[in-house]
């Protein structure tokens, strides 16, 4: 949580899209920007890139107000995937309330996926976030490409961990909203334990997720 100002009645949450370089994190956010209603969210802010690759981060903000009047802002960030930007990843990761791990479905990227996930675990520990309690969803992106891992293999690998796994193609535009929704629901569960959204603020899980993923058109 970035901030919770009880006086101003304002809560700012942070979601982070993590993963190896070029797995489709920025593309995910671009799709969310296109697919979701303009009302209740800001524009996608893409900081300077180098050859179209993220150096710092991308930001897509969402806002909603709970029945109680509590203003909730959800800031969705991507991190740079390239290995040399580890310090930036740590900086962006601080105080995150939920992570979507975007993996590249191609078999050739298996090692990169694994290394990126290990990097995530390491960095969470460094910035003081308990990985066992952090809401985490897994997205296997680029399902439109050849040479991808078959679904059973993915489910077999990730099944025991208990994390939701969503298949997607950000390029083609499917699986992206589902991922975001799954992340939102998981984050709600974790935060509700502490802040009693349902009781104190009249905000149900359904309602929270719905408000964030209102589709446009």
């Amino acid at each position: 949580m970035i901030e919770y100002d009880t006086e101003e009645r304002r809560m700012i949450l942070k979601f982070v899209y993590y993963g190896p370089a070029l797995s489709g994190k920025t593309t995910n956010l671009l799709r969310l920007h296109d697919l979701l209603e303009k009302e209740g969210r800001g524009d996608l802010m893409v900081l300077d890139t180098k050859d179209d690759r993220t150096i710092f981060f991308d930001l897509l903000p969402f806002f909603l107000v709970a029945p109680s009047g509590l203003k909730i802002k959800v800031k969705v960030y991507t991190v740079p995937g390239q290995v040399q930007h580890d310090a930036t990843r740590k900086t962006v990761l601080q105080r995150a309330d939920g992570i979507a791990f975007v993996a590249d479905s191609r078999r050739t990227e298996t090692k990169n996926n694994a290394e990126s996930f290990a990097n995530l675990e390491r960095n969470l520990s460094i910035v003081g976030i308990d990985i066992d309690r952090l809401p985490l969803v897994i997205q296997y992106n680029k399902r439109d490409l050849p040479g991808i891992l078959p679904e059973e293999e993915i489910r077999r690998a990730w099944g025991p961990t208990g994390f939701p796994v969503i298949l997607s193609s950000a390029l083609e535009g499917w699986g992206v909203v589902e991922t975001f929704r799954a992340l939102a629901e998981r984050a709600y569960d974790a935060l509700d334990r502490r802040y009693d959204f349902a009781g104190a603020h009249g905000l149900t899980r359904e309602s929270f997720a719905e408000r964030l993923v209102r589709r446009s058109g």
């Binding site: 970035i2 901030e3 700012i12 942070k14 969210r41 800001g42 524009d43 802010m45 900081l47 300077d48 710092f56 981060f57 930001l59 903000p61 806002f63 802002k73 800031k75 960030y77 930007h85 310090a87 930036t88 740590k90 900086t91 962006v92 601080q94 105080r95």
Partner: protein, 440 residues
Amino acid sequence: MPTDSGGRHRIVYCVGEERPLRDLLPASEAAALLAAAARAGLHGVRIVDPRGKDLWGSGDDVPPAAEGSAARPILIEGEPAGGVVLPAGAAGGETREALLGLLADTLTAMAHNNLKRMLTTETHTEVVNRSYEEILETNRNLAASEQRYRELAGTLEIKVRERTEELSRAMARLVQQEKMASVGQLAAGVAHEINNPLAFVTSNLRTLKKYTDRFLDIIARYQRVFEQGGVAQQDRDDLRKHRESLRVDAISEDAGDLLRQTLEGTERVRKIVADLKGFSHVDEEGEAPADLNREIDRTLSVMTHEIPAGAGIAREFSPLPVIPCLPGAFNQMFLGLLRNAFQARQEGLRMTIRTGVSGDRIRIAFADNGPGVPADLRSRIFEPFFTTREVGKGKGLGLTVAYDIVTAHGGTIDVEDTPGGGATFVLQLPIRRGSHDQIR
């Protein structure tokens, strides 16, 4: 406040912190824009914060905005973060509305760009600071590691030196053992070779002596008969002349001596060979009970040719108990000590070998009247390959080997001054061995 690796509190820059409009629209940038807007027709336009409080004005002195004044929001990250308002009672109109909208959009774009710029700069700075701190930390760790390695290297040198000395000693002992082993084998081989022909030489000589005695006997008989008569005078004269020319009388006397001495010579050869075999103990392996007095004598007897002419060797032996030891090794040691003395002084060498029992130890002292050992060299003389002799005249192993043999037995060897000049080497050996130390 979180602390960094140095324990210092640091303000952690958190990506995502909200920023008020005030920070995103510096007065300098806003003022110019507001002034232009005012000139274009928006007199008294102002920028307000979300609560309606004035932030910047166009410079015109006008009353503050009131409820219902024309206003447009300025958006930050999609949310209203303030707005532009016209003063109360200002004229409306489409143009004005449009201008106000344009102003709001421009300020939104301006704030957005400033925000991007600030986020970029701050993130970059944070990353640089973090990286710098990480480098400092790595540097600290490396310095500590280097320190540890340096300490290790220091002690390593010492350890290596100690070990090298150990190994030199062991090597020297092995070299000597090898030499002695091969000498022993040679001795045994030679002894064996010599013994065979020696045996039949001796035997033949004995036989020859018997024959000679018989020849002499019959010649004497013939002589007596010849002298008594029965042979013509001419023949007697011829025979007498021939006897003289053959020098038979002298030969008769000499023959006996010759054979006797020759037999004595073969006996000596036999004894030398036996001593040599006995000295190298080549037939025995491992420990055997030994009388050290006897071993010293054995050693002396195989060294007779090395004893300088005119040297005097006094043996002051007390009876010694028989002790289990490696006799071959002990003979090696005695040989080395004696040889040192013989080489220390040639002319007028006086040696005293004193043996005795002192308490639970056997004490053996080899005292010579040579130049002695200077005090500053006393600790070094037992070092492998240490020698004060010129090249080719000694490898410097003799005392090393002696030291190793004595210590392996649990004893000690020391060097003292001989009263009146010279060196005395004192061996002390336990009669009953406690712990049998290996060579260090």
